[in-house]
């Protein structure tokens, strides 16, 4: 079977749908009036701790919290 139809430009650039959707949502939130903007900034907060494992031991974790995604 031939490959499917033309991919969206963001997929062609290597972006996933979730990244695309989150960027769209962030842009919309930035254009809100106050006080809605302040409320919505809560939704952008990201908390996670990521640690890579090497040889069965976790390396130093990368912490990301309370910073809205750009």
């Amino acid at each position: 079977m031939a490959s499917s139809a033309a991919v969206p430009f963001w997929r062609a650039a290597g972006m996933t749908y979730i990244t695309y959707s989150n960027i769209c949502a962030n842009l919309v939130r930035k254009c809100l009036r106050e006080p809605f903007k302040a409320e919505s900034m809560n939704r952008e907060k990201v908390h996670f701790s990521l640690s890579k494992w090497a040889d069965g031991k976790p390396e130093k974790p990368v912490l990301r919290s309370d910073a809205p995604e750009v």
Binding site: A12, S21, A25, V28, L32, F36
Partner: protein, 203 residues
């Protein structure tokens, strides 16, 4: 003895499945009859064990499609942080699908539509409620239920026009200056979203 059991089982399963193969409907429909030949042969071989459950026995039956088209469309409009509309009966919704503005009436053909940034309007009698949707999906079912999910949806009054203009100018400039594919894609998204918001506010 156990080896014999698996041979007996596989023989009767094969016989049973070939008989019911022609009668089998869609894989998503819940079969109303359990394969009795299989159950019988199971009981012969392992009378003390219950026959195994299949995934379909755990499924709730699909809601039946009414024979006549219902008069109202039931809309469930949800966001990750709130349920905007839940089981609301309306006359029509217009959703911003990637293929264009799509009007959904009761009895619409089952569709899965990806949404682009745009206006979604809900029509109930003479009332029209408009939301600007950032992106998402719309699932239209055969029984006139529409599930619309979006990451961010705001009433048009909540958007600040000056911010939109500023954003549009900023991203148009970024698009011109972008070098890598990823930067171009991000700038392109910015331009699309802001021009959609602009059109929503002025249109």
């Amino acid at each position: 003895m156990l080896r014999q059991a698996s041979r007996l089982l596989s023989r009767s399963v094969a016989a049973g499945s070939s008989k019911s193969a022609t009668a089998r409907g869609f894989s998503t429909e819940v079969p109303s009859t359990i394969d009795s030949t299989f159950v019988e042969s199971w009981k012969k071989v392992a009378p003390n064990m219950d026959p195994p459950q299949t995934p379909s026995s755990f499924m709730k039956p699909r809601p039946s499609t009414a024979s006549s088209i219902p008069t109202k469309l039931t809309v469930n409009f949800v966001l990750p942080y709130a349920s905007e509309l839940s089981g609301k009966e309306v006359d029509m919704v217009i959703i911003p699908a990637t293929t264009g503005q799509m009007g959904v009436l009761p009895g619409h053909v089952p569709t899965i539509a990806e949404l682009k940034p745009g206006i979604m309007s809900v029509h109930e009698g003479t009332d029209v409620n408009k939301y600007f949707v950032s992106s998402g999906f719309a699932f239209l079912h055969a029984n006139s239920v529409a599930d619309i999910i979006a990451v961010e949806a705001v009433p048009l009054e909540n958007i600040d026009p000056s911010q939109v203009q500023k954003g549009l100018a900023e991203f148009t400039q970024k698009l011109a200056a972008a070098s890598t594919d990823l930067e171009k894609a991000e700038a392109q998204i910015g331009v699309e979203v802001h021009s959609a918001m602009n059109a929503a506010l002025t249109g």
